[in-house]
């Protein structure tokens, strides 16, 4: 049960972003820019960075949501599964392995990001902007994971919630829905 009263039909992060909309808005704007704005990293690659950090922080809600988003973007679930299991042997480019490693280290502590892991990423072709964005995505999900778990938000009753969420994150992005989220009350209701 959440530590404070949140809307029951909004599990995970959404209930928090709706609880205090004035702090929710800049968090949403930042996420939309960094995960959906123009970038030399694909949306799936950026969602993989979010997934690996959430997985490292053992945040079930965020890991499930962003892995589902990766899977929808790629049309398969092997990549997200194998990145979570072992970055080194996952079916991604050497550059992505280096960036995923930087993200995983940042998720633990910024101080763990060494000149060596940065040099490795640059040797594999990562640009300054890609390294910057990787660290910022990892830092942002360090916020999200702690926010979601620190408030003890609920997991959805039904795992199909994540399919609906992934579809929204792929087709709409991270901005607040203009109509809000009351329509989810019906979707979540027991038949």
């Amino acid at each position: 049960m959440p530590h404070i009263e949140l809307e029951a039909h909004l599990p995970g992060i959404t209930g928090l972003l709706e609880y205090r909309k004035d702090t929710g808005e800049p968090i949403r704007v930042l996420t939309q820019i960094i995960l959906r704005g123009p970038s030399t990293l694909t949306e799936a690659e950026r969602e993989l960075l979010a997934t690996v950090v959430s997985h490292g922080n053992e945040c079930r809600f965020c890991t499930t949501a962003h892995a589902a988003t990766v899977d929808l973007l790629l049309g398969e679930s092997e990549t997200s599964e194998r990145v979570k299991a072992d970055i080194a042997t996952a079916p991604v480019s050497e550059k992505m392995k280096a960036l995923l490693t930087i993200a995983a280290l940042t998720g633990k502590s910024g101080r763990l990001v060494t000149p060596e892991v940065i040099a490795k990423a640059k040797a594999e072709g990562a640009t300054d902007l890609e390294i910057h964005d990787t660290v910022l995505i990892a830092a942002l999900f360090s916020l999200y994971n702690r926010y979601v778990d620190g408030m003890a938000t609920a997991m959805p009753e039904d795992n199909s919630y994540f399919n609906v969420l992934a579809d929204r994150l792929v087709n709409h992005g991270y901005s607040r829905l203009p109509q809000g989220y009351d329509h989810l009350k019906k979707q979540n209701a027991k038949p």
Partner: protein
């Protein structure tokens, strides 16, 4: 040396705001809303103290020094509590409510799942409201982001205590949207 090419002589997170202004704008907006704007909850000085405390637990020197300085300028006559909270919140001369909230902040810093129902119950027993508990968790979570951003890119973090004091005075007076702190360096 920073891990990427950043503008010289601009310290900490400000150098990252210059590097990428669009994400910087959103990060400033969050700090302004969460820490500075009047809010029917903790005072700005209390919120900045939580930010400095979490930054210190994350051993992020730039954020600790900056937010400790802002907290001192926000707190005025009570500026002395900042140093004592950083050293040990239990023995610092702050309210039992703030002590309970600082304990929650420390739990969030070590991992969101570490916040227990007992921690929250203690804060409530000392008079903390839902929104104060929420804001404490979000401030602690946000500084786990800001600290990682600043340290993960190895930004320049000056040693000069007077510099942080000037930045603290500026932020306490004008908030986070004034970027003239870069001029304090040159």
């Amino acid at each position: 040396m920073p891990h990427i090419t950043l503008p010289p002589n601009v310290p900490g997170i400000r150098s990252l705001f210059v590097f990428r202004p669009d994400t910087g704008g959103a990060l400033c907006d969050l700090a302004q809303t969460l820490l500075y704007n009047p809010h029917p909850t903790l005072s700005a000085g209390e919120r900045e103290t939580i930010a400095a405390y979490v930054s210190n637990l994350n051993t992020c020197k730039y954020c600790t020094n900056s937010h400790a300085a802002i907290a001192r300028h926000q707190l005025g006559e009570q500026a002395g509590i900042v140093k004592q909270v950083l050293a040990d919140p239990e023995t610092a001369p702050v309210s039992d409510k703030l002590k309970a909230l600082l304990k929650i902040a420390a739990r969030v810093q070590s991992g969101g799942k570490n916040v227990t129902e007992d921690d929250v119950a203690l804060a409530r027993a000392e008079g903390a409201t839902d929104i104060e508990i929420h804001d404490t968790v979000l401030i602690a979570a946000a500084f786990c982001m800001y600290n990682r951003y600043v340290d993960g890119l190895a930004t320049w973090q000056p040693e000069d205590g007077e510099l942080y004091d000037k930045m603290g005075e500026l932020r306490a007076r004008e908030g986070y949207h004034n970027s003239s702190s870069t001029q304090l360096i040159t």
